[in-house]
Amino acid sequence: MSRSNRGPGSDAGVDSITNDGAPARRGAVSGEALRLSKADDKSWIGQSVERIEDLTLLAGRGRYIDDVGVPPGTLHAAILRSPHAHAEIRAINTEAARRAHGVAAVITAADVTKLSASLVVGVKAPIECWPIAGGRVRYVGEPVAVVVATDRYLAEDALELIEVDYAPLPAIVDPLAALDPKLPPLHEGLGGNIASDRSFRYGDPERAFAEAARKVSVSISYPRNSCTPIETYGIVATYDPGEDAYDVLANFQGPFSLHAVMARALKVPGNRLRLRTPPDSGGSFGIKQGVFPYVVLIGVTARVAGGPVKWVEDRLEHLCASVSATNRVTQLEAAVDADGRVRALSYDQIEDVGAHIRAPEPATLYRMHGNLTGAYDIRHLTVRNRVVVTNKTPTGLNRGFGGPQMYYALERLMQRVAVELKLDPIDVIRRNLVPAKAFPYRTASGALLDSGDYSHALDVALADGGFAELKKHRDVARAQGRIYGIGCAAVVEPSVSNMGYITTVLTAEERRRAGAKNGAQATATVAFDPLGGVTVHTASAPQGQGHRTVLAQIVADAFGLAPSDIRTVSEIDTARDAWSIASGNYSSRFAAAVGGAAHLAATRLKEKLAHTAAAQLNVPPAEIEFAGGRVRARGNPDNSIPFARLAATSHWSPGMVADGNQALRETVFWTPPELTAPTEADEVNSSLCHGFIFDFCGVEVDRVTGAVRVDKYVTMHDCGRVLHPGMVAGQITGGFAQGIGAALYEEFAYSPDGAFLAGTFADYLLPTTTEVPTPTILHIETPSPFTPLGAKGVGEGNCMSTPVCLANAVADALGITAIDLPMTPAKLAVHIHPTERVSGRVRGRS
């Protein structure tokens, strides 16, 4: 394992060349951040520099939404929520609550419908989506009334005085039941409970299935879960009647396309909804996207109350009613050659988005549309996508976003191909991988896989991860009578979403009428102050990852400075900052898109400075170099000026700067040309970058308790150029922990009548540090040719790969075919425990 000690920044790791001529580097990154000293000629990019963010956060000085000061007189809101999964609201009596001590206002749907409009819905159907229930409640936890009082305690006291007369209705919980046309629709405008039903065909799948030597299929029911950030939703909203404008501070993470949805709902132009984010975030993993309906609700509440209103969601509200990932029922079939080569896939996906189709849903279903063939060269594909509504919490962004659901089906299928054809699972994967020489590779459904060397990554993972030893270990364990299995999974991790992919839910005709949507505008601003200091601002809405540190690395490299010389600002103010609809923190877009935009903005300023410096140093601009805090003539370091002096020139002496070279502040908007709108044939390049992951693991199932112990886990990543190895290891380790949670512990469970069963952290079980082993992390690097820095996203991959890798291992251990998550001890014990004989003595009531 000596090779594992190399960091990805080490040139000694070069041992192969990818198709585009860039070296594919290999090495392992430990969970600890690497602390490297920077030689003068090396870049800061690629080093695990200390995080700018940490001193503040570790000293308890973070400025989270609940810590930020509020205007004097700010009122506090509490929300009354539905106890029913489905019920008609016959009457609401708020009189006693309005008279209660400290109460300023009580808001119901009557106020909200008067002062706002329905949230835009992403499918073509005459249905509405409100942030508060009107005539009907459709899930447990749906807001019914808001009380505003002088403090949260009094607001909660008054909630108890509101009388709601509910007439319960039958609930639809099972997505398959929602297909039944005889059941009454949750939304009258839909007719039934199917919100969208689209079929897609790529290549010649009918022929491939007709000619196939074998057909292999899996049937999957993927459960509901969420990545549960520590910090819940929070909002401070004010309404200025003088300007008819809202000012909202919210821990919203984007995408800022939803700003348009919020402004429309609040019935103001975009420039009259000023949306700001606090400096620090207590985590999101996608979930903070779901704060947006509450921005509308609390905005209206502030307008009615006549003053600033603060609302901080509590944990009970968060678990039952914030955002869940979708649950999905998938039938997936493969047409397979006798040697395990997969010729065609047929997907039937039924996506359960809960009670409302809340923007940007049904995006969870379409985010992976270009990647339905995974890491494999499969040219024939059919897809049927149905979106159903049920009496469950509306869904939204959640780390992995569609990847966990899709890859669970695809990689379970690949394992079944190996089992049914009696082949080695590794051979089946290898035989089907997209070949290295094929990049950039256009998938059957339209994704353009930018770069990679999947077979090489697989080889390195098996060799450096100790796969042969693991197989021997399994043999020994089994010989001892232990229940031991090995699983693996190959995943293409998409990043930088095409803002147009969601329109794949529309027909080509509907898209033509709506106008093409595409691209992913990233933005960054770099500015010089009069002392020559450098400030960077982006609209990336970091949620704890360390964007500011990486921006400082990138810009420091451009100017020959140190990261500590660069100030970065990452909170967003839509009234003042550069932003666009793609702004925000999702689809692992920071490293590839925002980091790249910062690089481009710094480079533009650098070129201008070089021209000014050239005149002062009397050399051609091409001879100017930036290093060590000075700007100098190449080969003559004594002929130099301090960087700060040069950077301040356009402030103090603009007359000395040639036309076009004024260098004060540069804002770059960057969108990759590869992100085109869906074609007439429904092909869509749903994401810009595509990393590669190959995982394998060994698990043991306890013969007595059925508990799964993860004995060994190896995860190989190719995320292009690694900007900060420590943060990459952090992303992988965090995603892995959440993958363990999804695989073994977590489920937003509902009873058949729609009651919510996972309302506290005693019921919704997160893995803690004792349940999460340390994975072995390996890397190769094939830079993306489509991004300014060669980086790809790496934030979500293990949420996609780890659950199915573990499930494949458990299936191998127990020799079982069907396995759904979470793999609880009681579920697995059914396969281990002897059949219970009915005792002749005392029978329990059960």
């Binding site: 469970a749 079980l765 219970e836």
Partner: protein, 275 residues
């Protein structure tokens, strides 16, 4: 998730606590660690008029032991008992079970007697007290009484304590020479409430086995010196008698199987420990 309004009384004397309990009865709750009570207040599942904080009464803060028993006062935190140097020597079953009570963070606040008063069906301390034939010392303004553990736990979070009484302390018999003790538990995660917890005391005439996490309260059986299929049959009977139910975390059948298998393992371990 904010508590409803309540009064807070920091009792300066035991008599003051007794007087408040006598006056408010069911509307008063004793605060002794608060690791279960405070979340219940925040969720408004408990709505006492007054909380009586007994953590500042010196007479309740002691761990005392004589030749026969350990007495643990009502304000002794779980972490303090776990750190008591004589614990393993004096009572190995308590020493074995305490690390399973919550997490280090909750043990540093939670009290031994608070866990007994709360009487969660899965809690370890009530289970051990039952296996050891321990007792609970209750007092009110009127009187003091000693209730054997076997009579104390009466249902899910319900006990034989009267509304005007508080737990002054509990009493656990010391290790008896020639007895063997064992504890095992299975939960979904480290620190979770048990799905099945087993405590066994083996002695010359047989074994005493207590099971928690299955029935509404910890339940105990005394068996003669059984082995082989006779022990299997006894455990199978016990498993069925506990009326195991299905919930989010496990099925009744799963729990019965754990009673059979963990029960057997704990009985055998307790026997080995006699030697």
């Amino acid at each position: 998730m904010k508590p409803a309004r309540f009064d807070y009384l920091r009792a300066g004397t035991l008599a003051e606590a007794h007087a408040t309990l006598a006056a408010d009865g069911d509307d008063a709750r004793i605060l002794a660690g608060g690791q279960s009570l405070l979340p219940m207040l925040s969720m408004r599942m408990a709505r006492p008029k007054v909380l009586i904080d007994i953590m500042h009464l010196p007479e309740l803060a002691k761990i005392e032991a004589d030749a026969n028993a350990i007495r643990i006062g009502a304000s002794v935190r779980q972490a303090k008992l776990l750190a008591w140097p004589a614990l393993h020597e004096r009572q190995p079953l308590l020493a074995a079970a305490l690390p399973w009570v919550g997490h280090a963070q909750t043990r540093s606040r939670g009290t031994v007697c608070g866990s007994v008063a709360h009487a969660d069906p899965s809690a370890e301390i009530p289970l051990v007290l039952l296996a050891l034939k321990g007792a609970i010392h209750l007092s009110s303004r009127q009187k003091q009484r000693r209730v054997p553990a076997v009579d104390f736990f009466t249902g899910i979070m319900s006990t034989a304590r009267n509304d005007d009484e508080l737990i002054e302390g509990i009493e656990a018999p010391c290790r008896t020479p020639g007895h063997g003790y064992a504890f095992r538990e299975f939960g979904r995660r480290y620190g979770d409430f048990a799905i099945v917890a087993c405590a066994a005391v083996a002695h010359a005439d047989g074994v005493r086995l207590a099971i928690g996490g299955v029935a509404d309260f910890p339940t105990v059986r005394d068996y003669p010196d059984l082995s082989g299929t006779a022990l299997d049959d006894a455990l199978d009977g016990f498993a069925w008698e506990l009326d195991a139910r299905d919930d989010l975390h496990a099925t009744g059948s799963f729990r019965r199987n754990l009673v059979r298998q963990l029960g057997r393992a704990v009985v055998e371990e307790a026997r080995r420990c006699r030697a």
